[in-house]
């Protein structure tokens, strides 16, 4: 096994130290994964190694690539390596493609301009690359005509066309559902089999587990644990790593059986024969659902299968093509509420949280003194109230969103992927709180997630959405 890249004492500074000196070694044919949550400095570490730090930050340390030694403090020497030796698979690669250029051309460019091959040969090589990843027919398509997964493969091929043997993948699975994630992992592992080097940066524990190889866990700009993935993840030594692994939905404790319900309870919401088409494609039809008070119902399915639309129909935010939704009689409309996927997007952007909450209290003539105990119940510091939604973390803001709807004593809460933008530990905290609070207040919850394990662990019963084979896979 040959060593492709050695980084020694790499540190990143702005006015103060952001990433503590870290060292790592990348072997050919052995993936290396940097695992850490948002804001832990894992991307900065990778950018320092790549020489692509944003302005205003500086790096220290040394990187050895092949027989070339780079001093990071000087900030020079990287340019010659980009594309030829080091390649980057950017975050959300479908955004990295040129939307006006056909797929093959984007790959061709790498061969022609970076490797300096003649045009004809570039085209042949590009076509061969595309065909090798099952994109033989996609060469003449524009990125907008490709599916997300295809676009990702094109971006991957393009990133490697310059001949880079070392690929740095920054959050390659960000925003993907389980199926797409497995696709990407397979793609990355194939690169490894061929003897390339792969440095993956991720917050996704499952990705780290499947990649194998070596792993470094980053917390607050410091590598706290490093070693073979199987060892680190199998027998974590650091407290944080342990908590991280315990926060993975597959490690959550099994739920106690749902409390028995008497037969006479009236449902809060009943849907019958719902159907919806979007863009000429049938999302679902003949969907029935009865939600009892205080019940937690989970919906799983791949992205784009209409599970969010289903919830929006229940809240009367979207009109169904067929079917009816009946709500419990005599219950105010505002007691049917929703939690959003992206917490910052669900608050007025330029209004401090306190004012948004006070507005709500005033509008409905609520008792403002209820906010304080709720803050405590949701483990939120009152000091956060005076911040803007963009100035608190996603987990805190999602709890504020929960607080906001709890003020209205909801009987039904539709939680649309409420934790998909949160880190693992925060996700567990948020979901647990949501479940506890819902039980306390006898509020029914319909929770949507692409994470089947999370849904299984947290809900009383589940519904699978999606095309038949997918649905079968999920229900298992």
């Amino acid at each position: 096994m040959s060593t492709l890249l050695v980084a020694e004492d790499v540190a990143v500074f702005s006015s103060h130290l952001l990433v503590h000196p870290a060292s790592l070694t990348l072997q050919a044919g052995r993936p290396f994964t940097i695992l850490g949550e948002t804001g832990s400095g894992k991307s900065l570490l990778a950018q320092a190694i790549m020489g692509t730090l944003p302005r205003g930050l500086r790096a220290e340390g040394r990187v050895t690539v092949g027989d070339q030694r780079l001093d990071l403090a000087s900030g020079q020497g990287h340019r010659a390596l980009w594309g030829r030796t080091l390649g980057v698979l950017p975050q959300e690669p479908w955004l990295a493609l040129d939307p006006t250029m056909r797929a093959r051309k984007q790959v061709e460019e790498g061969y022609r301009l970076v490797r300096g091959l003649p045009a004809v040969q570039s085209r042949i090589r590009a076509s061969a690359d595309l065909a090798a990843l099952g994109l033989g027919n996609a060469g003449d398509k524009l990125p907008s005509e490709l599916s997300g997964g295809m676009a990702q493969r094109v971006a991957f091929i393009a990133a490697r066309a310059g001949g880079a043997r070392i690929v740095i993948a920054d959050e390659p699975t960000k925003g993907l559902d389980v199926f797409r994630r497995d696709e990407v992992i397979a793609l990355l592992l194939k690169e490894i089999e061929d003897g390339g080097g792969l440095l993956t940066i991720t917050h996704d524990l499952e990705l780290a587990r499947q990649m194998g190889g070596d792993i470094a866990v980053v917390l607050e700009g410091q590598i706290i644990e490093q070693g073979p993935a199987a060892d680190v993840l199998g027998a974590p030594r650091h407290d944080y790593t342990k908590r991280l692994i315990a926060a993975d939905p597959s490690a959550w404790p099994e739920r106690n059986a749902a409390p028995k319900r008497s037969a006479g309870v009236k449902p809060v919401l009943t849907a019958a024969g719902l159907a919806k088409t979007r863009g000429g494609q049938l999302l679902f039809e003949n969907r029935d659902l009865t939600v009892l008070p205080g019940e937690i119902v989970g919906i799983t399915g791949p992205s784009g299968c209409g599970k969010s639309t289903f919830g929006d129909i229940l809240l009367d935010l979207v009109t169904p093509d067929a079917g009816t939704v009946t709500r419990a009689e005599g219950v105010a409309r505002v007691r049917f509420q929703k939690l959003y996927q992206d917490p910052p997007a669900a608050f007025p952007q330029k209004v401090p949280i306190r004012r948004a909450l006070n507005d709500l209290v005033r509008l409905h003539g609520l008792d403002g003194s209820r906010i304080a105990p709720l803050l405590e119940r949701l483990r939120l510091s009152p000091g956060l109230l005076d911040r803007l939604p963009t100035q608190v973390s996603g987990g805190e803001l999602q709890r504020f969103a929960l607080l906001r709807v709890l003020l209205l004593d909801p009987v039904f809460l539709f939680a649309d992927e409420p934790t998909s933008r949160l880190d693992l530990i925060t996700q567990q905290e948020t979901v647990e709180l949501l479940a506890e609070v819902a039980r306390e207040r006898n509020c029914a919850v319909l929770i949507v997630s692409h994470d089947a394990e999370l849904i299984r662990k947290m809900s009383d019963r589940q519904i699978a959405f999606g095309s038949p084979p997918d649905a079968a896979a999920l229900a298992a």
């Binding site: 949550e37 400095g41 505002v334 509420q337 997007a345 007025p348 952007q349 509008l363 803007l388 100035q391």
Partner: protein, 274 residues
């Protein structure tokens, strides 16, 4: 810890850039000159004294006299009051319906949107000054015609700006959440839409005021709009142009005033783009 790291990165870009401070200071100085002069200086902008024709500045008359021996100081301050007042009025009359229609079009969509956009496009198809000229030709000799004509040109910018921002906002989860929580349209305008468009409206407003001032001066320069003896910057330029050789200081005054006014407004407006 995620929040702690990202906190200082949150856009804390100051509203008060150096550029904007200079612009506001300059504008304040001009406004002060225009509105304070009548109180400290006793002179009429229309009283002629032929002894002083094209007289040079003196201690008593710091800006000298024009070709009819009228006090340039009194005339300049009156002209600036007129320009500033008209520009301010035009901006308000353009902004209020422009923003209201923009929000309406974006919110209602469909035919409402199409109809209002069609009207806006029709106005936009005509060159701005031509529209004002046509308007003045129709309602002859009315001083307010100038201001109505300019507002008719200016409102489209506010409309387009508001419409494009509002359209994205009304579909956002934040607005949906507010509606679910029971808030009405007024609240959504006040808390969601207005905070987003306000800084941009200020920019467009400053640009709009600058173009209104330039338009008023340009129209008066070609003898449309304000009539003599009303002091007006463009008109003063026309009147003083023949005496360029004898009294360059007199001709330069309205030119410099227009330049400084438009510069200050552009400084106020432009700092957002940086």
């Amino acid at each position: 810890m995620a929040a702690d790291l990202s906190l200082p990165l949150v856009a804390e870009r100051s509203f008060w850039s150096t550029q904007r401070i200079i612009g506001v200071a300059l504008l304040a100085a001009i406004v002060a000159f225009a509105f304070v002069t009548p109180f400290v200086f006793d002179g009429s902008p229309t009283r002629q004294s032929l002894r002083n024709v094209l007289g040079a500045p003196t201690v008593l008359e710091p800006l000298g006299y024009d070709h009819l021996g009228r006090s340039m100081l009194a005339r300049m301050s009156a002209a600036l009051r007129l320009s500033l007042g008209l520009a301010f009025l035009s901006v308000i009359t353009a902004a209020v319906p422009g923003i209201a229609l923009g929000i309406l079009a974006a919110w209602k969509g469909g035919w409402t949107d199409r109809l209002i956009s069609l009207v806006a496009d029709a106005f936009l198809a005509l060159p701005g000054l031509l529209l004002v000229l046509m308007f003045i030709a129709i309602v002859q000799d009315a001083p307010w015609a100038l201001y109505v004509g300019i507002s008719l040109v200016l409102w489209i910018e506010y409309f387009r700006l508001t419409r494009s921002i509002t359209r994205a906002l009304v579909l956002s989860p934040a607005v949906q959440a507010s509606q679910l929580l029971g808030f009405g349209p007024l609240y959504i305008v006040r808390r969601h839409i207005w905070p987003e468009i306000a800084p941009l409206v200020l920019t467009v407003g400053a640009f709009g005021a600058a173009s209104a001032i330039a338009a008023i001066a340009a129209l008066s320069f070609v003898s449309v709009g304000v009539r003599p003896p009303t002091p007006e910057l463009g008109l003063m330029m026309t009147e003083l142009l023949p005496y360029y050789h004898e009294a360059p200081h007199a001709l330069l005054q309205p030119v410099v005033a227009v330049f400084l006014l438009i510069l200050s407004l552009n400084l106020i407006a432009g700092s957002n783009s940086r």
